[in-house]
């Protein structure tokens, strides 16, 4: 079930297994935007990807704080925030967790379609989800470091 990215470079046909962490089609769009970068062919996507990972770390810190403060609303906003960028990059797993956090923070169930007024439960679920999403992000980070290293090695 592993997904492969056939890099835009038709010549190298490099493939990289991101697993189910990354939606290849979405991420490839970003890679496409790398074309023609002057100094480093991947500078754009690299900056986006690692910018996001930094952004995610920062957000997690805020989430931890909000969790301590039982600030569901803040947690929902942070979840939404990270959801958007992760979805745009195709970081599917991260996005899914963030979406759940957004819903729980909004005092709804994980689908967001039903209300869930048990705040303790919501906080607990968020706490669990936060751990998962941090793991996901870490995983993506490792993959991306590897991926870009591989790209550089090619050049």
């Amino acid at each position: 079930m592993s997904l492969y990215i056939a890099h835009a470079n038709e010549a190298s046909h490099q493939e990289f297994d991101f697993g189910d962490n990354v939606d290849v089609g979405t991420f490839e769009q970003i890679l496409d935007m790398d074309e023609g970068e002057e100094d480093d062919g991947h500078e754009f996507s690299r900056s986006i990807v690692f910018g996001f990972l930094e952004q995610a770390e920062t957000t997690f810190v805020k989430m931890e704080r909000a969790l301590k403060e039982n600030d569901l609303r803040q947690l929902s906003e942070l979840g939404h925030y990270l959801k958007g960028s992760s979805a745009t990059l195709g970081f599917t797993k991260v996005k899914d967790q963030c979406e759940k956090i957004q819903h729980w923070g909004a005092r709804k169930d994980e689908t967001g379609s039903n209300p869930e007024t048990d705040d303790k439960k919501n906080l607990k679920l968020i706490n669990e989800s936060l751990k998962k999403v941090r793991e996901n992000v870490e995983e993506v980070n490792n993959l991306m470091v590897k991926y870009y290293k591989q790209l550089e090695g090619e050049e």
């Binding site: 835009a8 074309e35 062919g41 939404h80 925030y81």
Partner: protein, 614 residues
């Protein structure tokens, strides 16, 4: 002897006369003359009283004499013989007719009632004229009445005709007015738009940086002048046009009055058609004249600005895009043309670079969105939240489209949209992952024009742009309306030419990639000029005549009219253009482009620092 047996040709009167003379009892009163060739009325009084009634049913001697005269009997003059009395007495009346003789009945037939002799007209005019005059009088009266009626109806027709003509003229004027007003409105809107665009340019720091430089180019100087003029006096110009219009009517109204007066005579004469046709021809002359004036007035600047107000498609062609193209679009292209190199999509073929306000709090989404937008040849401004977006619009920033995230700090996208809608109609597209139907309904209720679901893809973003900026798409060259403004062709030329550029560029990707140097900087450095030239034709197009515009275009292979300019096209189309070595010199051929290229190189960071190492 019997009269009955006589020829019917003889007159009753003559036969009665003859019969009367045969009666011997009348001999003392009337009898044949002594010679038998005449008859004599001896006793006038007795004859009239007694004999005339018996034979002629009247007792009027004068009438009897008149009858005799009609049959050409002549009274024998008695005083012919000097001093001698008539042989029949002083009171006797002797009448003679050559054919009227005693004992000569046969000759009676020869006595005919003679046609009225000229010398007897006096008698005729005594009887007939009275009737004739009456008849004639009646006829004259009738004719007079007819003439009166004709006159009345003619008058009525004349008035009606005049009214119709006046209405026609008025209508014509109204149409003229509307045309001009339309033109004014168009101009005004254009100028307002241009102004707004200039203002919005200030939102782009880089644009400001470039502004001075771009002003140095001859083209932009012209543009700046045009921009200054147009917004400065749209209303004045409108007024001027109205005045001209009044002058028109003053010029034309004498003609109309002439027409009206020319109509007067026909009432009194039969020359109705003459004046009538004169009238119509006068009207025609008027309309012709007006048409000519109309054209002059409606398209006074069409030849210069390439905008035919009659064609809505020309709206995007109005000059204002120039500065933006030059200062913003070109600069951005210069910077990011490389990134578009490997575009899976054809160039959207904008008439000018669309200005997009990207309202997004998330840096990743913002950068990616902006990157995509750049790849679509858009000029991007960003706002980090709804509050900033509102203030940008309030400060006069003008955009062709606003992409609005929904959930943002400070002010959410829906609220921002709601506020912006109080004073601005720029299309706003919600970018959100919350796309449940009630969510979407709310977006629309607050003035959103569309929803772009998140996570958006490059395709979905482009589709959204093309959907809402369809008016900014260049016309296919085949659809080019027959232009009053000669610049149109060049405008339509560009799409295909630009298109060809894109095609070439994307085509270039493959071969380039096959060399394994797809990311080599040098490989794509040459593309930057191409991107620059993509922007350039707009400039020249707006500024100069067709030829110049074409000249500034390096490639028009797909354009029908391109054949004309083929010789002028700098450099061969297609792959040959791709090489950096080709591009540079080629572009340098064009002084204007060279300067603008300088601008491009002078332009630095794009508004959104995406793609730069962070």
């Amino acid at each position: 002897m019997d009269i009955a047996g006589q020829n019917n040709n003889s007159s009753d009167f003559v036969r009665k006369l003859y019969k009367m003379l045969e009666d011997p009892s009348y001999s003392s009163v009337v009898r044949w003359g002594d010679d038998g060739d005449s008859f004599v009325v001896l006793e006038n009084e007795k004859f009239t009283k007694h004999i005339l009634p018996k034979h002629f049913k009247h007792s009027n001697f004068a009438s009897f004499v008149r009858q005799l005269n009609k049959y050409d009997f002549h009274k024998v003059r008695q005083n012919n013989e000097d001093g001698q009395q008539s042989q029949y007495g002083a009171n006797a009346w002797e009448f003679k007719h050559p054919e009227f003789k005693a004992n000569s009945k046969d000759t009676l037939d020869n006595i005919r009632r003679k046609a009225p002799a000229p010398r007897k007209q006096g008698q005729v005019s005594e009887e007939l004229p009275i009737q004739q005059i009456d008849l004639m009088n009646q006829q004259i009266v009738a004719q007079a009445q007819q003439i009166q009626m004709l006159e009345a109806s003619n008058h009525e027709l004349r008035i009606n005709h005049q009214t119709v003509v006046q209405e026609l003229v008025r209508l014509h004027r109204t149409v003229l007015n509307h045309d001009r007003i339309m033109q004014d409105v168009m101009k005004y809107l254009n100028s307002v738009d241009a102004q707004q665009r200039r203002n919005s340019k200030t939102l782009f720091p880089n644009a400001q940086e470039n502004a001075p430089g771009s002003n140095l180019t001859p083209t932009s100087q012209n543009i700046a002048a045009a921009d200054d003029e147009i917004p400065a006096s749209p209303l004045q110009h409108a007024q001027q046009l109205m005045q001209e219009y009044n002058a028109d009517s003053q010029l034309n109204f004498p003609g109309l009055e002439q027409i009206s007066t020319a109509y007067q005579p026909p009432a009194n004469s039969n020359g109705v058609r003459g004046p009538g046709s004169a009238h119509s021809s006068g009207s025609m002359g008027y309309s012709k004249l007006s048409d000519g004036q109309l054209e002059q007035i409606v398209y006074p600047m069409g030849a210069n600005n390439g905008i035919d107000p009659m064609y809505a498609e020309h709206l995007p062609n109005i000059p204002y895009p120039m500065p933006g193209k030059e200062a913003d679009g070109a600069e951005l292209r210069g910077k990011y043309a490389e990134s578009r190199k490997k575009s899976n999509y054809n160039d959207p073929n904008w008439v000018r670079s669309p200005r997009i306000l990207l309202v997004e709090d998330d840096p990743t989404c913002r950068q990616i969105g902006a990157k995509f937008l750049y790849s679509f040849s858009c000029v991007i401004d960003t706002a980090l939240d709804g509050l900033e977006a509102v203030s940008k619009i309030q400060e006069g920033g003008k955009y062709d489209l606003i992409l609005m995230d929904i959930i943002m700090p400070n002010l959410d996208g829906v609220s921002a949209c709601h506020i912006i809608r109080q004073f601005d109609r720029t299309p706003i597209v919600a970018m959100t992952s919350n796309i449940r139907s009630d969510d979407i309904q709310m977006y629309f209720q607050h003035g959103m024009d569309d929803v772009l679901p998140k996570p958006f893809t490059r395709k979905s973003l482009l589709d959204m742009l093309e959907k809402h900026l369809i008016h900014m798409k260049k016309l296919p060259s085949g659809m080019d309306p027959p232009p009053t403004a000669g610049v149109n062709p060049s405008l339509t030329t560009q799409p295909s030419s630009t298109h060809s550029v894109r095609d070439d560029m994307s085509a270039a990707a493959s071969p380039a990639g096959s060399t394994g140097t797809w990311n080599s900087p040098s490989q794509y450095s040459g593309v930057s000029p191409i991107a620059g030239t993509m922007g350039m034709p707009y400039n020249t197009t707006y500024m100069d005549s067709n030829n110049t515009a074409y000249q500034s275009q390096p490639h028009t292979p797909l354009v029908p009219r391109g054949a004309m300019q083929a010789a002028q096209i700098a450099g061969p189309p297609g792959p040959h253009r791709r090489g950096p070595s080709d591009m540079g010199p080629q572009d340098m051929n064009q002084a204007k482009r060279q300067r603008v290229s300088g601008n491009f190189s002078g332009s630095t960071a794009m508004p959104v620092p995406m793609g730069r190492p962070q």
